[in-house]
Point group: C2
Chain length 587, copies 2
């Protein structure tokens, strides 16, 4: 059967390829996994025992490490995941031993309007239904671990309100004096459930909890998820879980999950979740799916453990950093690589003619509405002007000492002249460039990209961090603002100043890496400013402190930790074929 993405829905293509996909036993054999290392979850999904693999292959040199990032996107996104998958397929077509490492999608977007981020067209991950519907349950495990802390917190507040010190002492409990106005943590659920954003809990009698304001976040915004992504092993995970600050006491001291005696039980939920999951591309290359933390308060990338495993099992590992190069690659570079000790060999910067036009002056395409007609007409001036943003993003990659490759993710509406213009500009700047048609043609369409990446990986790279952890926090924020975003400087609001003073006074906290919250729709902190904005200062309104994941989080943009479900959500079209058990309507 001919697979034509211009005529078929993504899930129809996936269903067709699933008929002849490899079993995980085949994938495991191709990767040389032992029977003990491969933990099947059904015949087409497996977990990999990371500990056993890393122990067995500790002396094998790592494969090449490739990150896929992008220019500043339009609100529609520029196909970063699709390109990462296309690249894996292209390298596979060239006979390279390649593996992917990507994020697990959240149930929120899957059932709302975004879909499940499994790529698209002829560059997808399968089995699509398992990928979209929780895979082996890691997000549920994160959710259960997180909510157990809230059960412990609220039950403890209730018991301290109802019982005297003597009663508590009989159970080995010392009064924690939690301040109900300074409970930092909320509950999590893996949906866009705006009705749970602002709630009041603990109503009813004295045995019905402690009355207070509370909140729900989407599960992937949980600090537990942030930790799953950066933990190096189970020991590291256990320690980070125990450092999560759930609240402050009435004297301003932090209360951690360890104080609530719940950190061990939380970790018990994660013993299986720490092992990466393996599925495959439409063309049969293995892809590790592991962790899916938010891209603002966390790194927005798949796990360090998946990268460790993949780099031992294959010659090339392709991963992706969420958002654009300024936010996503910067965190990959200065947080993920710092914590993992790994250094990338190449970074692919994905661009589209659509986004370049947008940066060059075309009207911003609104999500959920028809794309303005300007995008269907050739406009070389806009494309050329838009390449300033592309080159800025390429330079971010270069600052890390990593070799960049520009990938023009081609649409069938792009004109030959537009494509050639981008090619020429890249060549003038001495940057490798490849035009890729993976969406339309799969791996076959990504051969030029695959070749460019293989070549780039052979270049000697001199990876270096943007800042040292010893540098003052403000200096580090300023480096990111100036050298990565192109700002003139940084302005701090009083709340941020105060938090930074507090952090600097703590010898441990002051050394945590910076995890910036900023819009990904502009290099600046104003999402409407396109291209390369000049003459602006980054406004840091607040600084959040995540002790468990270990991040200092300056807030220079809006964070919604609980998105909303729209009026025409995806669940309306999802159903099950009751004869075959196949899920229909996912995208």
């Amino acid at each position: 059967m001919k697979l034509d993405p211009t005529k078929m829905k993504d899930w129809e293509i996936a269903a067709e390829c699933e008929k002849r996909m490899k079993t995980v036993y085949q994938l495991g054999e191709e990767l040389g996994l032992t029977k003990e290392e491969l933990l099947p979850y059904g015949h087409y999904v497996a977990k990999i025992d990371y500990r056993k693999v890393l122990e067995r292959l500790k002396d094998r040199p790592n494969g090449k490490y490739i990150d896929v990032t992008a220019i500043t996107p339009t609100p529609l996104g520029e196909g970063k995941s699709t390109t990462a998958i296309g690249l894996i397929q292209g390298m596979g077509k060239r006979g390279k031993k390649v593996i992917g490492a990507l994020r697990q999608p959240s149930g929120g977007p899957t059932f709302n309007i975004k879909g499940s981020a499994a790529g698209g067209g002829l560059a997808q991950i399968i089995p699509l239904d398992k990928f979209s519907l929780g895979l082996t349950g890691d997000i549920n495990a994160v959710m259960n671990a997180h909510n157990l802390a809230m059960v412990a917190l609220t039950a403890r507040m209730q018991h301290e309100a109802n019982y005297d010190d003597e009663f508590l002492a009989k159970r080995g409990l010392k009064r924690l004096n939690i301040d109900p106005k300074r409970v930092e943590m909320g509950w999590v659920i893996d949906y866009c459930a705006q009705a749970l954003r602002h709630i009041v809990i603990g109503l009813g009698g004295k045995r019905d909890g402690y009355p207070m304001e509370s909140k729900f976040w989407i599960a992937v915004a949980s600090e537990v998820m942030a930790i799953l992504a950066v933990a190096k092993d189970l020991k590291d995970l256990r320690e980070r879980i125990g450092r999560i600050v759930v609240a402050f006491d009435k004297f301003g001291n932090p209360i951690t999950t360890e104080d609530l005696e719940v950190a061990g039980a939380m970790t018990a939920w994660l013993v299986e979740a720490i092992n990466p999951n393996m599925i495959q591309t439409l063309e049969g290359q293995p892809v590790l799916i592991h962790a899916g933390p938010f891209a603002n308060i966390a790194i927005g990338q798949s796990s360090i453990i998946a990268d460790y495993v993949g780099l031992k099992l294959a010659d090339y590992l392709v991963t992706e950093s969420g958002f654009a190069a300024d936010i996503g690659f910067e965190k990959f570079w200065n947080i993920k690589c710092r914590l993992s000790g790994l250094t990338p060999d190449c970074a692919v910067v994905v661009a589209t003619i659509r986004a370049l036009k947008c940066h060059g002056g075309a009207p911003i395409p609104p999500p959920g509405k028809p794309i303005p007609k300007e995008y269907y007409e050739e406009n070389l001036e806009w494309v050329e002007k838009g390449c300033e943003n592309l080159m800025h993003c390429v330079n971010i990659v270069k600052k890390s000492g990593t070799t960049p490759v520009v990938c023009l993710n081609a649409f069938h509406t792009d004109t030959k002249n537009e494509i050639e213009l981008v090619r020429r500009i890249c060549e003038e700047h001495g940057v490798r460039v490849a035009v890729s048609e993976h969406w339309l043609k799969g791996g076959e369409g990504a051969l030029e990209l695959a070749d460019a990446v293989v070549e780039a990986c052979e270049e000697k790279s001199e990876f270096r961090f943007l800042y040292d952890l010893d540098e003052p926090i403000k200096d580090r924020i300023e480096k990111i603002a100036r050298e990565v975003y192109g700002a003139d400087g940084v302005v701090y609001l009083p709340a941020a100043e105060e938090k930074i003073r507090y952090l600097e006074s703590d010898p441990e906290l002051r050394k945590m890496p910076i995890c910036m919250v900023k819009t990904h729709l502009s290099l600046s902190d104003d999402p409407t400013k396109k291209g390369v904005p000049k003459g602006w200062n980054l406004r840091v309104r607040d600084v959040l402190i995540y002790r468990g994941s270990g991040f200092i989080v300056p807030v220079a943009g809006d964070i919604s930790l609980m998105p909303g479900t729209g009026s025409d959500p995806a669940y309306r079209r999802i159903d099950v074929d009751v004869e075959t058990g196949k899920v229909k309507g996912l995208f």
Copy 2:
């Protein structure tokens, strides 16, 4: 290593046996499962593709069907699960091809004070950590399916409040006019989270949901879980999911998940959950673990699908009905067997000397406190008097036409005289009786029980229902009250009268089976009345209607659908060995 349950904790015994447990591939081979039918989840847990098994073995005669029930228990429980597991092990020791079918435990009790219900001593299910921590994620799937309905409900209420009919029509939506005061459904979480019992949601601005009172239940109390337990196949499941009533509109009409266009997506979460899970006893017999619905608003039993599968795969299937014979066996008999079309060959009635003494006059043992000293002293008078409750429960079983076997679950504190007295009374009543020491000795200690059950299964049984679905609802409730509980009659409060009138006026609803809510701590509706209470009427306060699971639920007792976490919960003692990944401290 000698395993001594008087000296070792349950989880230590489990850990020791896990070192030499069978892989699921071995278990699958012993059961003759094909590679396509056995879906491994790691090496020691599998799902079984129920559809493929039932199709392949449709012409094989079913094995013998054995239900384990109990006399009215003390608040401490009388070891029904442990006896079921012991019986499986005992039959295995005798060389019988036996399989178990048991409920999955909820995370609420596991992390609170009850522990995980994996049996105890030398009669347990392993791997204990996977059994206790979500197994293959079915409860999470139920939770996600359930909460998706609430996301759809609350988002819809918000959008109907914010948008006019024209806007809604553009998205193909017709105003549902949901009455915020008649929202029946709450959210679920699989913990004892009393702080979420009574909450207010939708606070904030107009995009933050719809402000109203709401609630959380423990996930296993979800109607979705009730449905998973009674569905005969995926088609049946899909239809039942679509019939769940989430709320009523302002004119009193029910609003279902189908009206919210979310029933298909809910079912998508359950495509894997519908397949039973397989693990094993300490002695290597296979046990299916599937569904874990509440014993009051649902059947409190593992799934019909697991029974279908187990009866095809083995010569004997041992299952358990939650609570005592009056509530648990009655629902097994008149709901589960009616819906499944299966008929039991034998029912084991578990008794302990402790419970018999309690029914005979000893002080009721309070949970969480030391057992009164009277229980450690021989008292034949109490035991003899207590046997009235035992014989009443045996008679309940006999009324169904099923052959009973009394199992005295022996404790080392029981005296020889006490045991012999029970044996004699049973023999005088012509009932098979076996004394079992499975807790202390495993299958070896349950051989007498196994032999009695095998013998009982050879008797011709004449299974018959207590009532027909055509009979008026009140007649049916009265039959249960008089013939099963031993009441003089039934008294209905006005709310119940009104609901019954409504039900009788609906030709479909009136034919749903009765699923009674009543205490399991007494044959009557007063938990303090022990033995066989006389001269009382059952008070039915209300009648709940569950259209999805298909139950008429008369309420003659308290229902807490969200238990509370105590001041010394189990999570305090649970942790992970970070070197091996083993979970410690579960029980």
